[in-house]
């Protein structure tokens, strides 16, 4: 278990930090949020990231990827969250790529991975179906009919789905005695997909997808490399950990801006950062951020090495990231006072992003219950 970064990883992190600060400051996000719902992402920033190889961070070298591993990918996600960079990084380069890597090699799979790597295709992953995180509940069905599958069902709040080229849909085969879910690579131009963009408080791109008799050829039904349960668990764990990375990035940024504010804002003739009431709250938040840093590194390293306690590490990091983000965000707004609730200040944008991320891939209560089960109580 590696809890300290190696030199290569430190270089990648610093490079990512400089890149997002220069090419995608929060101002870029503010521009993107003015765009129509269907186009809420920055094509220019994403193209730059593709050139740097970051769209292929997880993809092995023999498929045209940079193969940074989960740790390297996580580091880029953390830095990208620090400026709210609006790109399909997490959805396509991290989660969809991870889903494909859990499938057996095939023409369709390898083409998709190459297309993600060279930036020619945006791919999203549609598993969760409702408003709450419930990975066990899959009602979407794929019915075999004349060498083709016909998909019916609904997936809500699918990220980047309005402009994605391909959607990896998790569906249950029917009729079949085996109720294990399978993965289908669905072209978004296909007939029968009702694609309705939805607007959430974080201004990012989501859509509700309804599949009505969407025809998919047998070749686009991807085979899991291991058992469906194991593969899906691995994808969900990785997605959960990378979502926690985003929360960590948002929290770090907001905390650092708040400490700066405590040092510059004066009231009652002194810097407000000299008041003990605020010092103790800031110091407590710092202790929680340091714990989160450790647990993020632990979870990334567990995913990278595919260790046996990966599920424990994933639930731990998501619960802690949720709670720490909540603490840091609400304290930061409060410490900024009135300006903290204005749209002009960036803090509120981070708060809104974090509020959505806390719900995606599981609330703290969900993950504490799962952590308890995994530990045998």
């Amino acid at each position: 278990m590696a809890l300290a970064l190696n030199e290569e990883q430190i270089m990648l992190r610093d490079m990512a930090r400089n890149f997002f600060a220069a090419k995608s400051p929060v101002g870029e996000f503010r521009k993107v949020r003015q765009k129509p719902l269907e186009h809420r992402y920055s094509e220019a920033v994403w193209n730059n990231m593709v050139e740097l190889g970051w769209s292929s961070a997880l993809i092995p070298e023999n498929l045209g990827g940079c193969e940074f591993g989960v740790i390297g990918t996580g580091l880029i996600c953390i830095e990208s969250a620090r400026t709210l960079a609006p790109t399909p990084l997490v959805t396509t380069a991290a989660i969809a790529a991870q889903a494909l890597l859990e499938c057996e090699a095939s023409l369709v799979r390898d083409q998709l991975l190459r297309a993600i790597a060279n930036g020619s295709r945006t791919v999203t992953y549609a598993h969760n179906e409702g408003s709450h995180y419930d990975p066990e509940k899959i009602r979407t069905l794929a019915t075999l009919d004349n060498n083709c599958f016909s998909i019916n069902g609904t997936k809500q709040f699918v990220p980047e789905a309005s402009y994605a080229d391909i959607c990896l849909v998790v569906a249950i085969d029917t009729p079949s005695t085996d109720t294990q879910p399978c993965l289908y690579a669905v072209d978004m131009q296909q007939e029968g997909i009702e694609n309705r963009a939805v607007s959430l408080i974080d201004y990012r791109q989501y859509a509700n997808l309804e599949f009505k008799n969407v025809r998919v050829s047998a070749a686009k039904r991807l085979k899991w490399a291991y058992s469906p349960r194991k593969s899906i668990a691995f994808i969900e764990n990785t997605a959960t950990i990378l979502t926690a990375c985003e929360l960590y990035g948002c929290s770090l940024e907001v905390f650092s801006r708040t400490i700066d504010y405590l040092k510059e804002r004066s009231q009652f003739g002194r810097k407000i950062g000299s008041f003990q009431a605020l010092q103790h709250r800031a110091a407590h938040a710092y202790t929680q951020l340091e714990l989160l840093k450790t647990v993020v590194l632990d979870a990334l390293s567990a995913a990278n090495e595919q260790t046996r306690d990966l599920s424990i590490a994933a639930s731990h990091v998501k619960a802690l990231a949720n709670d720490t983000a909540h603490l840091v965000m609400t304290e930061s707004i409060q410490m900024h006072g009135g300006i903290g609730i204005t749209d002009e200040l960036d803090i509120g944008l981070f708060y809104k992003r974090a509020r959505v991320l806390r719900t995606r891939h599981g609330s703290s209560d969900f993950h504490r219950a799962r952590f308890a089960s995994l530990n045998g109580y």
Partner: protein
């Protein structure tokens, strides 16, 4: 790894396997700790054997120089020994502030004569040490301490009082912070003095605590004569030594909770035993289950953070601010566990003394009561947060 080190590991493993009695390879309970000095008692024959065998190799203090009777191991070998001790779950053969606090300070700040006099006795467990820092009027504001040592040409004359001295009534010697200058900045008039507790005029009285124990004492000094050779470091420069020692103490305290609690019921075991209606591993009460998971996550995060600092240390990228948070986090979380345990046991967990209550139940509320000290001693939580705000966050001072 060099052959020298791997040979050392093999030899150490073999030696420990044949010399550490089976009974000394389980978590240690509070009343089984082996202390040094005139009051030394062995809870068992195995405990005595284990202590004597380790003592004879100097491994009660493996990193202390061999010329003063220590184990003389370099960092790499000391680490291997600790790993092998952990692997076999060996108990500490001897526990004392001399080993963990005074010894390292003497090695850093003491004269050769002081080292020769005190270090071998620490290694051999012949003297038990206690610490005289806090005073009735100097708690969190430690540097305002008043217990004075007057220069009488050939000796110091000590007058005043120290409080919250752990095991003050059972100890042989006390290392003290005393005031040697009343002028100027309060930190600049403090000296570090070693005092034999048998000296006339010195008296230690136990303090009864809410837990029913009296681990702490108040120590009174009434014209106590202390030889000049017992001054460690320069006169009026004791505050530097004190700060170094406080770091050791806080590190020790951040690791302490988990160690002493080992051996009792886990929260999950207790919840099954006291709350579940049916057989089964899952805790049936969802709120208690949530709280247990929350606590276990926090303990896991704290343990991993300790491990992270260790790895960063080895990669030479340590963040000096991280150790600052460990005492605050570790001691706070121990208190969370204590409260939760008593909640799970209900009134059955609040028995004071009676055979209606088993050892786990009596112990649960003694831990609950005693461990309130953890976030006070060695720098209160509030002092820790002040330090973090100043040093880690660079927030302005008033």
């Amino acid at each position: 790894m060099s052959t020298d080190l791997s040979e050392f590991r093999d030899e150490t493993r073999t030696w420990l396997e044949s010399n550490c009695p089976e009974s000394q390879r389980q978590p240690v309970k509070r009343d089984e700790v082996i202390w040094p000095g005139r009051c030394q008692k062995f809870p068992s024959e195995d405990g005595r054997l284990w202590f004597e065998r380790m003592r004879d190799k100097g491994w009660t203090c493996p990193g202390f120089p061999a010329e003063y009777g220590g184990g003389g191991l370099d960092n790499a070998k000391e680490k291997i020994l600790r790993e092998e001790l952990t692997r076999l779950r060996c108990r500490p053969p001897l526990t004392d502030l001399g080993i963990s606090m005074l010894g390292p300070a003497l090695l850093e700040f003491g004269t050769d004569e002081q080292k020769r006099e005190h270090i071998p006795k620490i290694v051999r467990g012949e003297r038990r040490w206690c610490q005289g820092y806090s005073e009735p009027g100097a708690g969190s504001d430690l540097a305002s301490l008043q217990c004075s040592a007057e220069d009488q040409n050939d000796h110091f004359l000590v007058n005043g009082s120290k409080i919250w001295t752990s095991f003050g009534t059972e100890s042989d010697w006390i290392f003290c912070l005393v005031r040697t200058n009343k002028e100027g900045r309060k930190q600049d008039g403090i000296s570090f003095l070693l005092i034999d507790m048998q000296t006339p005029g010195l008296k230690a009285e136990p303090i009864d605590l809410i837990s029913g124990e009296s681990e702490f004492a108040q120590v009174f000094f009434d014209d106590v004569t202390v030889p000049k050779r017992n001054l460690v470091g320069e006169i009026n420069k004791g505050w530097t030594i004190a700060k170094t020692l406080l770091k050791h103490e806080r590190k020790m305290m951040s690791e302490l909770g988990a160690g002493f609690l080992a051996g009792g019921l886990t929260l999950a075991q207790a919840a099954r035993q006291y709350l579940n209606e049916n057989d089964g591993d899952q805790i049936e009460d969802p709120l208690i289950r949530n709280s247990v998971a929350q606590h276990e996550m926090n303990m896991r995060a704290i343990a991993l953070t300790g491990y992270r600092t260790h790895q960063e240390d080895q990669a030479q990228q340590i963040d000096p601010n991280v150790p600052l948070i460990m005492k605050y986090l570790g001691t706070s979380e121990v208190k969370v566990k204590d409260e939760l345990m008593v909640d799970i046991m209900g009134l059955q967990g609040m028995g004071w003394c009676d055979d209606s209550f088993n050892q786990n139940e009596l112990r649960a509320n003694r831990e609950l009561l005693f461990n309130k000290a953890l976030t006070i001693a060695g720098g209160t939580n509030e002092i820790q947060l002040n330090i973090i705000a100043r040093h880690a966050l660079g927030l302005p001072q008033e």
